[in-house]
Amino acid sequence: MGTLNYIARRLLFSACLILGVSVILFALINAIGNPIEILLAERPGVTEEIIEAVTKYYGLDGSVTDRYFTWLGNLARLDFGTSIIYNQPVGDMLWSFGIETLKIQIPGILLALGLSVLVSTLAATRQYSRTDFTVIAGAMLGHSLPGFFIGILLILVFSYWLGVLPSYGAYSTRNLLWDSEIADGLWHMVLPVGMLTIFNTATLTLLMRSSLVDVLRQDFITAARASGLPERRVVFGHALRNAFIPVLTYLGILFGLMLGTAPVTETVFTWPGLGALYIMAIQQLDYPLIMGETMVITVMLVGATLLTDIAYVVIDPRIRLG
């Protein structure tokens, strides 16, 4: 019962948070001024009348509150409006570019999670050994290098020197690899996913190793060993689940900020995803697109935080009473 109550409270809080962000976002976008004036000003042949007509066409002539509620109502129906620059429904654009972003981000996080569990277990169960020091050093290095630098290194090695992997784009424009769209798409994913995996693995490993080292020193681990349970079960069943609790927060942030980090990855690999789209939208002041994507980022971050909180409840019984 307590658990359901807790989830209900968190849901309500999340909804308020999203609403708050929408107000701030709308206010900020409007603080820029009338985007039509900015976009069309000082172009030859553009008169006051034209600007007025276009402003009216996009419904930008009402009061700020009216326009806010219209926008919010449309958002609620998942209608994000039409892109000014591309003249396409923003919802469709977010969806098709979003798929491309998820295609590299989700594997990047999941692979990193699996790898870091393996590597940090290997290191933490052999604390202060050569393996442990190698893992720490590697993770420190990966964590300290900026993501884009790792990406450029990967391109240098695998695309430029070895010439085996494509350095940009999500698909080949002609001559599909093995004449298969799927194989070609996967082949293009390797480097961006690799960069994300390296970066995420490094940070997750640092967190998980130190957490695991801590847990392995606890009495209940000695007690589990003294009870005759095999080492495999002690480490994976008793230690790892406890060690995972602090890591969960970071994992939530990774999922939530997926779109926040996307611009860097997608710029390095010219990947047609939401990150690249966001930058274009901002540069061209395509404000329906900016607002739509910002709301999507907000919902994802809030949603990931919510899921993290729920995951905590599932994994750690001590939180259930809270």
Binding site: Q127, Y128, R217, Q218, D219, F220, T222, A223, A224, R225, A226, S227, G228, L229, P230, E231, R233, G237, H238, R241, N242, I315, D316, P317, R318
Partner: protein, 332 residues
Amino acid sequence: MAEPLLSVEDLKVHFFTRDGVVRAVDGVDFAVNRGETLGIVGESGSGKTVSSLALLRLVPPPARTVGGRVVFEGTDLLTLPTKALGTIRGRRIAMVFQNPATSLNPIYSIGSQLGEILLWHEPITRAEAEARVISLLTLVGITDPAARLRQYPHELSGGMKQRVGIARALLCNPSLVLADEPTTALDVTIQAQILDLLADLRRRLGMAMVLVTHDMGVVARMADRITVMYAGRVCETADAATIFRAPQHPYTRALLDSMPRIDHRYTGGARQVLPTIPGRPPNLLDPPAGCRFHPRCPDAIADCRRILPLETEIAPGHTVSCIRRGSQGIAA
């Protein structure tokens, strides 16, 4: 006397630290007979806890057991393959830990962590394991045991948690229980309850027990025989009555003298204050040559600095390691 249940011979556990090798346990011998309680007493750092962990090969790095034999029911546990050791741990020899708050896994319910151990060791069904856990929880005096199965450690009081810890140790009906300061982390009133419970269970189940403690009061109440440790070595072993009535080793005597006694007046006369042992325990990175207690010993002579005393039987069942009490020794 018959073959002892457990005999520890020349056990050595060293900590390999950056500053050098700390000889935390350096040649310890003791034995436990079937059904008896052996109290191991000593101050902090005397090596008593490390010794008890070493019996089941549980010493954490950077410590390592570097020598000796731990013979339990005829097999040396120190050379046993890991798999075979797993059938001794928790099944034939079980442990009760000092701090009940940290010795239970916080994220598993009582029922699942106790059940897991049973299911691992014995070919029984989940339902049978649950019934067994319930009966053990009842045995250790936990009320409403069926409801406790689904509770988590943080929902229980300290005393309750220690009862669960004891139930965990008894799951597979072991013949030896190692209890490391089982009451130190508890309130005084709960301490008494837990000690009574342990004594009662030991009698009823016919187990042997090794009780590690720094509290002379606890061993006086619980132990059949007592081993006194100092700086990683055994000073004296005898039955409890002898240790308390006729202690031979100067350290044992000093330890007993420094206990407050209800029949002494500390306010006047010769015994104005509670006596203490002068000096401090040695740094085990560089222990004193000869007898490790000699720098603090009132009876020390020149030879004590040179000769390492060995445990020598001076009366049946009474061993002392002090050259002034007739022990043999080896010159350094």
